[in-house]
Symmetry: C2
Subunit: 211 residues, 2 copies
């Protein structure tokens, strides 16, 4: 996934000569805490936040150019950078919005912390059931019931909890990947549990074939 | 994981009677786009953003109480809510900061979109190598080399790419869980690949035992 697939292409811009009062109204109307400043070719030449505007107004400044951050101070990414880089930059520099530039320095989008929260959290919201379904399709010759039975056995072995195959099935219908990670104590442990289940069903399949 | 484990306990507050000019300076100094308004017992009674302040100053308002959002308008979570709920609320209501209350309505923390980006993205940054290490420890009687060999075979089968066990090992040392998910086309597919690898090493182990 590239930055251009993650970025928001709808955003407002201001020019360096715009009046601060008018810009402050624009920020309010569009509910934006930050706005890119561009030249006539939409190249990124500055960046302002609502906090810069507040200070500017208090100090009697009149134009965007008097308060804007200069390009050297603006954290940005390129549209063809990996999406991961945008996430790391936002996390590292603690910026809520990150401008995206093309080869000409034109601003083509904005990556927002809020959009990243949405994208990342959607992964966490995948039902554990879906992962077992994929596993079931992959493991030929093993039925869904056999898989649930193995899962219940592994859970009993590891946690001491007396859980049946039916209860296990009910649980994974409700629980999400995110919850499972927290419950098992981390991504690796979650996968190890799944691998243990896979190993058990395969061992049982082999034992059956030998009979 | 609960909200109280995710929230930031360091935050600034303002009172309803504070002067808007002074509050605007406070926001700037602490670089905060939003600030909770509290009473003398630190109960949450309002919420202001830098955009509300800009408007207030323009309209000649003097006090925080004249511009603040009332409690009914403030999206918030309880300290004992699951962390997942805070993530969903931020995502749904598009708020960059979310106040956390205790049973008495006292504000005890703030969940920030930026902190969530950091927490969620750290999961994505886990090296695939770590997952294979955990898998290797789980699968008794199978060596690391056998595991890498099986992984290379499965990759060749699925993608047609001619990759050796050594190259596979090099690759997973560098690549992260996040990259692997994007590369394989989703969490389920990534996991199915792991299961296929697990199945192959187990089949080979069984075949060896039969000899």
């Amino acid at each position: 996934m590239k930055v251009k697939e993650l970025m928001d292409k709808k955003f407002i811009v201001v020019g360096p000569d715009e009046d601060l009062d008018e810009v402050s109204e624009k920020m309010e109307t569009h509910k934006r805490f930050t706005i890119p400043v561009v030249d006539e070719k939409r190249r990124l030449i500055g960046w302002i936040t609502s906090l810069n505007v507040i200070r500017g107004l208090r100090e009697g400044k009149k134009r965007v150019s008097e308060i804007m951050h200069i390009p050297e101070e603006i954290i940005h990414v390129h549209e063809n950078d990996p999406a991961r880089l945008a996430v790391l930059e936002i996390s590292k520099h603690k910026v809520v919005n990150l401008p995206v530039l093309d080869d000409e320095g034109v601003i083509v989008g904005i990556v927002r912390a809020l959009d990243i929260v949405k994208t990342l959290s959607s992964l966490y919201e995948i039902k554990v059931y879906k992962i077992f379904e994929a596993m079931s399709q992959e493991l030929k010759g093993i039925s869904w019931d056999e898989l649930m039975e193995a899962a219940a056995i592994i859970t009993r072995r590891r946690t001491g909890e007396r859980i049946t195959a039916e209860e296990y099935e009910e649980r994974i219908k409700k629980s999400t990947f995110g919850e499972a990670i927290w419950a098992t104590g981390g991504l690796e442990k979650f996968f190890v549990g799944l691998i243990a289940i896979g190993e058990l069903v395969i061992a049982r399949k082999v034992a059956r074939a030998r009979k």
